[in-house]
Symmetry: C2
Subunit: 480 residues, 2 copies
């Protein structure tokens, strides 16, 4: 844990991000190119993300399973778009047990192919459907440029894979799981994501269409934070997954897949963090409260620690996740900075005067300085702390939503788009362009279509780029 100064966001956001990741003790660099070591504090954050998602997956009828890390090379080649999308990024095992393998094994970049092969065995009749599986796993994509959590060679994620009897059910599942992601992002991670559909150019390799949750980072860049794919019958046909329907006729299934990864950690850092460090939403914070005891001598220490232990027991009984910073080698001020860097939502200070008066000081991380600090009675402390944590949770979401809304601008022409993108915002435009138009915009401005948001203005307009009549708006932005 270190509390050195950090490059301000306004000076160099990218540098700020890298410094925070390491200084807040989320991760460390590894000797393997593009691979990160997730340190305990970062891993606890991931565990909170996992448990928030896993609970929602199970509540919507999904079951976890585990499939092999290795995929025979021939499997990947069965779905043409899929192999084209992933083959440049593959890590390949060619030697095992001291011998060259007859067929090389690919380290999974995603598991559609090996899971579809299993689905083919498991699905015979309509009674076997829907089949709703999720896997928590590591995957490997050999990326040229990597950034901590946002794009790493190996990363941790979950990948859902489901099979359905009808196109409608598969589409409903694809939408449902995007809703699950959005619900988690908004209510747990306090990230006001925008739900929408990807353009054909940006969809998953092998999908009919891809839905996404897009988040605005504090540098106004977009971060794709979770995706849900309707795979139609593409994989069913490539792998021959058929079921016998109620009329005893063979039918191909309809499949979906959906994934969310450790990239979410990066989203949390870049949505909420400030120049003092992380600001973690209470629902996912490893510690919701840090207690800093303050004393100058042994007599004070005894009195203060007695109160600290008593109050911490009350908070633990109310399921508040907390830590007590008992270090004697550093000052209270150092501790404040240290825990601000780590983004603990609420700091509780207990000194000799608090013991005398039966109070404590509570400082919230989402509001800096005196405005965020209050002195409260020790009576009924757990209820007060729970209320305050809910306020911090809501406060972080509100700040992020305000920031997002202030930085999305309507644009009626390509010139306006260019101005908005250059100034670092998102442009909302009526869109009737082609994939080539997208490619040109990307080349000229660095922006891509993040999504066609589900929330549409209605009616029709004129495409900002082509001038053609347009039935929907798109969000354009630079992205990670």
């Amino acid at each position: 844990m270190a509390s050195q100064a950090v490059t301000p966001q306004s000076e160099d956001f990218s540098k700020w991000y890298n410094e925070i990741v390491y200084k807040a003790d989320l991760a460390d660099q590894s000797p393997v190119r593009g691979c990160l070591i997730i340190k305990p504090y970062g891993y606890e954050l991931w565990e909170a993300i996992k448990s928030g998602l896993d609970r929602r997956f199970k509540a919507t009828g999904h079951q976890n399973a585990y499939f092999p890390l290795f995929i025979p090379e021939s499997f990947l080649k069965r779905e043409a778009e899929h192999v084209e999308g992933f083959s440049p990024e593959l890590a390949v095992v060619t030697i095992a047990g001291g011998k060259e393998l007859e067929e090389p094994l690919v380290v999974r970049p995603t598991s559609e192919t090996i899971i579809m092969d299993a689905f083919k065995q498991w699905i015979q009749s309509y009674r076997d459907l829907p089949l709703l599986i999720n896997q928590w796993a590591n995957v490997v994509r050999w990326e040229l440029r990597t950034r901590p959590f946002l794009r790493t060679t190996e990363f941790l994620w979950q990948e859902g894979h489901t099979a359905h009897a009808t196109a409608e059910e598969a589409e409903a599942e694809t939408r449902q799981m995007l809703d699950v992601y959005a619900d988690f992002a908004i209510n747990d991670a306090a990230i006001p994501v925008i739900k929408g559909k990807k353009s054909d150019r940006e969809k998953f390799a092998g999908a009919v269409h891809t839905y996404t949750i897009e988040a605005m980072m504090k540098d106004k860049k977009a971060l794709q934070s979770g995706t849900s794919h309707n795979l139609g019958q593409n994989f069913a046909k490539a792998f021959g997954i058929q079921y016998v329907d109620e009329n005893n006729l063979p039918q191909y299934v309809w499949t979906t897949s959906w994934g969310l990864s450790t990239r979410m950690i990066g989203a949390i850092v870049m949505t909420h963090g400030d120049d003092k460090g992380l600001r973690l939403p209470p629902k996912v914070a490893p510690y919701q409260v840090v207690i800093v005891p303050i004393y100058k001598n042994d007599a004070e220490r005894t009195a203060v620690m007695e109160a600290v232990e008593r109050l911490s027991r009350e908070l633990l009984a109310a399921n508040v996740r907390l830590t007590i910073d008992k270090r004697d080698s550093v000052s209270p001020g150092f501790k404040y900075n240290d825990w601000e860097m780590r983004g603990v939502p609420v700091r509780m200070e207990v000194g000799p005067k608090d013991v005398e008066k039966g109070t404590v000081a509570l400082a919230r991380r989402d509001i800096a300085g005196r405005d965020g600090k209050q002195f409260v009675p020790q009576d009924n402390l757990a209820a007060r702390v729970l209320d305050l944590l809910a306020e911090v949770q809501a406060g972080l979401l509100q700040q992020a939503a305000d920031f997002r809304d202030a930085n999305i601008h309507d644009a009626a022409s390509y010139d306006e788009v260019k101005q908005i993108i250059e100034a670092g915002g998102w442009a909302r435009v009526w869109w009737a362009g082609t994939g080539d138009d997208e490619a040109r915009i990307k080349e000229e401005t660095g922006a891509t279509i993040r999504c066609f948001p589900f929330e549409q203005p209605g009616g029709a307009g004129r495409c900002a780029i082509t001038g053609q009549p347009a039935a929907q708006v798109a969000l354009l932005a630079k992205a990670y």
Copy 2:
């Protein structure tokens, strides 16, 4: 889910085991040599094992982290015994991103080397010690002969890695974590493991010594179910991990590692299973209770399902994990067999007469037939079920302990050892032999020293093999 007949244990235990793994829906074969697909029912069992262990790791001050899947080949070579032990089993990535790698990357068979490299960066002073890390991960060992859960090319496990200031602390940690494993095995998995020390011949590659928990399977073979290694300063010296002590002098740290894997699923199957299928200890069972509604017509169905829903709500409120088998396509008898195959500890039957009389039937899986079945009032059902689950948990442990104790025999001579091993038991002998003696015994009888149990008779004896004075007893058995 299938309920076909199973090969009896007495006829062919090995065949019985393989059939149960697949018929109880724990796992499926995969197209990748030696790799298993862990199906939802098996994965839920693994999740229960994980959570039972993770809770204990955190209670003893350990933190989870995550390190890269890939290890540079040169890292493995730094500890001489370690590389010698693992190199025949490695899977190696030689191509990534379409290019041949300059240095091949090994898919981790275990993570000592890459974690020690990180420890070197993280440890500077005595204040950084002890460092107590655990990782939940997949590992790969290219095994020649594989068996579901017991020995697979890829498997899931946890690996603890710790560093300490003194030899005493490292030894205490090594023992503590073995105690944690034994506590989990005995109290959660109902497996009466024996704690002991491995012989030098059987210790971990790179360890000073290895402790083990050994379990007796129902075919009387031993299964090493978890190991804890005192690594001394072997890895500290190989990786240059030094700290500055309180006198400002550089010292090498002392390290430990300890692991338990999905092999534990195999241990549960082979400790408790019978010819009808699995018998799962309630503490780790995905479902503790299955409710089978019984009715012949719609009127009965309505009355029965009302009671079932009401009672299931009561049980869920008491945190009982349950499922209701609502299938209309199969008979109650089929359902009984089906859930016996899956080893659900308690079956609850609710029929029209039960509704009338305000009763239910409870059948426990650990006691077959009428002896295990009772009719109880619906009043206060949750408390009754919780009591019964505790009885089943204790019953399974007692049965396994009785079986184990009945099959460990003292042997005073090599002839007696041979007889005991041939009859399929474990031989307990005074031991003063050498590694060569061990090798000869293995060749001649198939048995190995499973451990020198911590629980020793005291005093001294005469080695059953060499006739020399001996200070300790060893347990000899055939093993998986």
